[in-house]
Symmetry: C2
């Protein structure tokens, strides 16, 4: 039986980033060597899009390169960089999208746990309590701000550090930070949450809480994307989606998207969209997804153009490694239902 | 700006009460003098309705008298009883309905904060961190398992200890515990949550999170009571309702119910029903509430029969003391809109 861990504190409201200063000052306790690690998506570097008055001179600011999804080697490198200070930071803050938040989570865990991060990819492998951490999403839909995973790409597999220790202690939901996100990026990211919800609801692993949260999150997404855009509401829909998937599992779409990402280097949200678009036989809300694409004039490109048979094979293998999501979707007998040929057929359409 | 505190851990599932033993053993750490305080609703005394194998001989079990709603004097008495042990317990557990959960919350706070409990009725008056506490609802709808309040009746006012320190650290949602609740009691309690949601949604104080949670909780309640009864789903609806009201406020119904409770000693859920039944001019879902009463063949009795003008006056005064809920419902000018005469008119119909 699972003891579900929740984010202990959250701020919600435009301008709530201003609360970060007080939170960090409280942790520093006036000590001049007490420093915070602040991981900010490199997109914001030099752009002055928000005030950084929460920083003190001793803080370590890392503008994280999220061109590619976070690799375990990158986490190890950043962790070593922090360790050079010779003492633990009082907080690790992540300000950015899902990748940035996952980097912050992973650093907070790796600072207090020995070895390389690849060792902790899996479920409940983290032993020592992590450094206190704060998540500030600047885009909505990853749900990363409320989940217990930090998704990392290792040399062999893309798999999260799934642990209660990956859960943020504090989240700040400030819709003002979403203002500069381009529309297509918005859609790709929000669809991650949309698809999470659909996979949770139509899978075998869920409970009354997951169902309630995923249903509501999905309804809100539809209202937002087919009705009126509302950044604050989108942040809430993402949070509920993040909480929902915590007690469930993804399904067919995420494994396929991992295959795409690993071989083609596609960003998570985008590859989720590319994969989901071909899954109408499994997921009724693919229809709604297509309506949304149409409304926002988004035409998904063909990504499989020029992909070799060998690459296709690697994609299919990477997809089929995701035992938990696929048995969630198809049951214990999933291998006989979702065959390699079936996976390849689906991939070829993308 | 408000930093919303959430329950850190929850179990959800039939039989999840069995997890209590592990949680308490973990806190006792094998020490023979490490004891837990377990507050159980007196309804369960001698009934053997659930296994108490989580108890150790050194634990202090309190079968709480919830015939009346918890008084501050009762909390002080129970706190003194615990203090006689000469050391703090490792945990305070509440197993019961809203009153029992509120008693457990209040004891956990009062064990580490000086003076009488009446001193802490209000908002954010608690200074010292409380004893670790676990809430196990045996009825759904109070939302008490997820709120930051412990409602107490003092010599002068019925008002909660509203504090982050009143939030449970751990909640166990076990639908098996709801099996023996009589139908009318079920309805009265669930309606508390139903009304909370309606008051939150139609009030001025709320945010995107409150709205999402209250809407979903309300929808689920309608599905459960007009469709199929589902205890687990009801526990979830109650939890979401509890979280929703945490970022909002009650409205017109709760203050009226407090007036009824104070003079007539009516139980909270029941007086909520009696009051809500007369509020169709303010709350559209009174109509749905009446459908539910009809479906379950519940006829609310007249409670004002024989009430004197003097008593009516006390009720109206008690109602009008609730400034926050009433300004939530009517705005800053509430005193000119919701006059004493109007309150008396409404009360007379009940």
């Amino acid at each position: 039986m699972k003891n579900s861990k929740m984010v202990l504190y959250y701020y919600l409201g435009r301008g709530s980033l201003s609360q970060l200063k007080g939170l960090l000052d409280g942790k520093r306790g006036g000590k001049s060597d007490a420093f915070a690690v602040v991981v900010i998506d490199h997109y914001f570097d030099g752009k002055n899009l928000f005030s950084t008055d929460f920083l003190e001179h001793q803080d370590l600011v890392i503008y994280a390169d999220t061109t590619e999804e976070p690799k375990t080697s990158y986490i190890d490198e950043l962790t070593d960089l922090v360790k050079e200070r010779g003492q633990l930071p009082v907080a690790v803050v992540g300000i950015g999208g899902g990748s940035t938040l996952d980097i912050a989570k992973a650093i907070s865990v790796m600072l207090t746990n020995p070895g390389k991060s690849v060792k902790y990819q899996g479920w409940d492998l983290v032993k020592n309590p992590p450094v206190y951490k704060i998540g500030v999403p600047t885009i909505a839909g990853t749900g990363a701000e409320f989940t217990r995973t930090a998704v990392l790409t290792g040399p062999e597999k893309k798999l999260g550090i799934n642990s209660d220790h990956s859960v943020f202690d504090q989240v700040i939901l400030d819709a003002d930070l979403l203002k500069t996100v381009p529309t297509d990026q918005f859609i790709y990211t929000a669809m991650d949450c949309f698809v999470h919800n659909e996979e949770s609801l139509l899978g075998r692993i869920n409970d009354a809480m997951t169902i309630a949260l995923a249903e509501k999150s999905l309804d809100m997404m539809k209202e937002i994307f087919l009705g009126e855009m509302d950044h604050e509401k989108l942040l809430v829909a993402s949070s509920l989606g993040g909480q929902a998937v915590a007690n469930s599992s993804v399904g067919i779409c995420h494994p396929l998207s991992y295959g795409l990402s690993i071989v083609l280097g596609l960003h998570h949200g985008f590859s989720i969209c590319v994969a989901f678009n071909q899954l109408e036989e499994y997921y009724p809300n693919v229809k709604v997804f297509k309506e949304i694409l149409k409304k926002y004039n988004i035409v998904l490109p063909r990504v499989m153009e020029g992909v070799t048979e060998e690459q296709l094979d690697i994609m299919a293998e990477a997809t089929l490694k995701n035992e938990k999501p696929l048995s969630n979707a198809f049951g214990d007998d999933w291998k006989n239902i979702f065959t390699k040929e079936k996976v390849k057929d689906l991939l070829r359409k993308m």
